[in-house]
């Protein structure tokens, strides 16, 4: 693959040199026999970015060169990570490598942190090098906003009060705090105003901690401070779970935005009250991840997060940014009025890849994309419930709209708990192999 015909790439400095460039998993005829029709750089190796990279390679039959830039060496799944708090999974059950994805699809990989993006020059700068692109996909996930709660920004504060809203060491930390907490004490968690990553996730978290308490520390309580006026996802189901399955354990308080935190005493303040916790989990408000904020634009303020200064406006046929041509944004960072879920991130990645293969051949993207979302929440170690919906492009409104027939489970069940395991195994394989 004649990657070194490129001017900007600095192989030695970015660690790109060597056998990883050869695309060993591709069919022989798809590699090496013709020059690539262009290069796509993908920033981010989460559900959105990894999926986009794979499907670009698959659907172009190797004709498009794909370079992923990801800071972490491993993929850790947010879906199912609340089960770590409940005690039925460990973080190591949810951690995977990228090797199969790279090898099977001939994806080039740079483990580095993006420091700048110049949309006019079509160039991405990283700590250890730079890359030019024909098209760029930014799949940055979310970034936490600490403007209102600056005391939680430091690593020290977060070791005391983890967000645990990106699966990883903070998830492990929160689990350890719950394990160390004596019975009869209080876990307090707060939920930011929507939109945020994974709408049902906080309610699932409350249920998972309550499940752990019910079986291990039955005198303990879960207080949920929700900035929203009501439960915003699977409301009927979670209301029943909270009031029946976890009666006397979960205390749900709507309209309770956290406005101040005393880190040392784990005390949170809302407009109405002050609550002191033994274990405290504040999920901060969110916006498009940092790489989306650092895109340099001519004549404008930097950043593609033009909606409420938080989310990125895109064309839903291609996921191309409304602010920068040849730059696509996918996943939680997108302003779509749709659930910010792993399945949605995967869908957006595929529609984006489908469109880029067309665009790079000088053809129009598919004009009427349709995709589906399925999202499971566990309420015990085994029992889960879903919300599912099909979404269809509306040509007049130019947005994805909910189709008829969507809905939620009748009730949580162990049968759906097994389907949720199968969902996770399949989306992991779809994303990472």
């Amino acid at each position: 693959m004649p990657i070194n015909r490129r001017d900007f790439i600095k192989l030695a400095s970015t660690g790109l040199a060597g056998a990883s460039l050869l695309g060993t998993g591709l069919p022989a005829l798809a590699r090496g026999t013709r020059p690539p029709i262009g290069r796509v750089v993908v920033i981010g190796g989460g559900y959105a970015g990894a999926t986009a990279a794979k499907y670009l390679r698959m659907w172009s039959l190797g004709a498009i060169e794909v370079v992923v830039v990801e800071a972490n060496q491993q993929f850790v799944s947010c879906p199912l990570s609340n089960l770590v708090l409940g005690g039925s999974k460990t973080i190591n059950d949810l951690t995977f490598g990228y090797d199969m994805l790279k090898m099977q699809h001939g994806i080039q990989w740079v483990q580095d942190t993006v420091t700048g993006i110049d949309a006019a020059a079509k160039k991405v700068t990283m700590l250890r090098g730079e890359l030019s692109y024909d098209r760029l996909i930014i799949a940055p996930g979310v970034d936490f906003i600490y403007d209102e709660l600056p005391m939680l920004q430091s690593a020290t504060a977060q070791s005391q009060i983890p967000h645990a809203w990106k699966a990883g060491w903070q998830t492990v930390n929160l689990r350890k705090q719950l394990e160390a907490m004596p019975d009869g004490r209080v876990f307090v968690m707060s939920i930011p105003k929507a939109p945020y990553r994974c709408p049902p996730g906080p309610y699932e978290r409350a249920a998972q901690v309550a499940y752990y308490f019910k079986n291990n520390k039955p005198k303990s309580k879960v207080i949920v401070l929700d900035a929203n006026a009501e439960i915003i996802s699977k409301k009927g189901l979670f209301t029943k779970v909270f009031s029946e399955m976890y009666a006397g354990i979960i205390d749900y308080r709507p309209n309770s935005a956290v406005i101040d935190v005393d880190v040392a005493t784990r005390t949170v303040k809302t407009e109405f009250e002050s609550v002191t916790a033994d274990v405290l989990n504040v999920i901060p408000p969110q916006r498009a991840g940092k790489p989306a904020q650092m895109v340099k634009l001519a004549h404008q303020k930097a950043g593609l997060n033009n909606i409420d200064a938080r989310w990125c406006e895109v064309d839903f046929l291609s996921y191309e940014s409304k602010l920068a041509s040849h730059v696509h944004v996918i996943g939680d960072a997108v302003s779509a009025a749709l659930p910010k879920s792993a399945h949605m991130a995967s869908n957006q990645a595929k529609i984006c890849a489908n469109a880029i293969v067309q665009l790079m051949a000088g053809l129009a993207p598919e004009p009427a994309p349709v995709f589906a979302n399925t999202c499971y929440s566990y309420v015990t170690d085994k029992s889960a419930m879903h919300v599912a919906n099909v979404y269809r492009y509306d040509a007049a409104k130019k947005i994805m709209l909910s189709a008829e027939g969507g809905g939620v489970s009748a009730k949580p069940s162990e049968q759906e708990g097994e389907y949720a395991v199968a969902w996770a195994q399949n989306i992991w394989a779809d994303t990472l192999t």
Binding site: N72, V357, V370, T374
Partner: protein, 142 residues
């Protein structure tokens, strides 16, 4: 008129399994509009994108992972098209019991169900096994 190289890309887009040899001398040879129009790429692009959405639960190309649980998710790869249509129409009408599939089937139109049936019946069924997980490294951020 399109160049042969572009045509080749269109063929790959619509998933046609043609011989993938591009002879350099022919790469710039022009092909006829009729040949291009015959491809009807848009419909196939649509179904490819839609079928990929099914992969989150049913696996890439409809190859679902088998685990030890009672309730696995069905593989769609290689499924007989008539069976696929009957099942989906059953979910859609409510005649066929389901936990989640009714929410998907009702959102699709009859043509999409037919197109998905054709698409998945043409996929080769492969053995899919769960991904092996790893120990989280100390230096992982977050």
């Amino acid at each position: 008129m399109l160049k042969a190289r572009t045509l080749l890309l269109m063929l790959t887009i619509i998933g046609l399994n043609l011989p993938m040899i591009v002879i350099a001398d022919e790469a710039n040879k022009e092909v006829t509009n009729q040949e291009i129009q015959a491809l009807q790429a848009v419909k196939l692009l649509h179904v490819r994108g839609l079928a990929a959405s099914c992969a989150a639960c049913h696996g890439t190309g409809g190859n679902s992972i088998k685990n030890d649980n009672t309730n696995n998710i069905a593989s769609l790869a290689g499924m007989n098209a008539t069976d696929f249509i009957a099942k989906m129409q059953g979910f859609k009408s409510g005649e066929r019991a389901a936990t989640v599939m009714q929410h998907h089937a009702k959102g699709l139109n009859s043509q999409e169900i037919i197109d998905l049936a054709e698409y998945f019946s043409a996929q080769t069924l492969r053995i899919a096994v769960p991904l092996v997980s790893q120990t989280l490294l100390d230096h992982h951020a977050n």
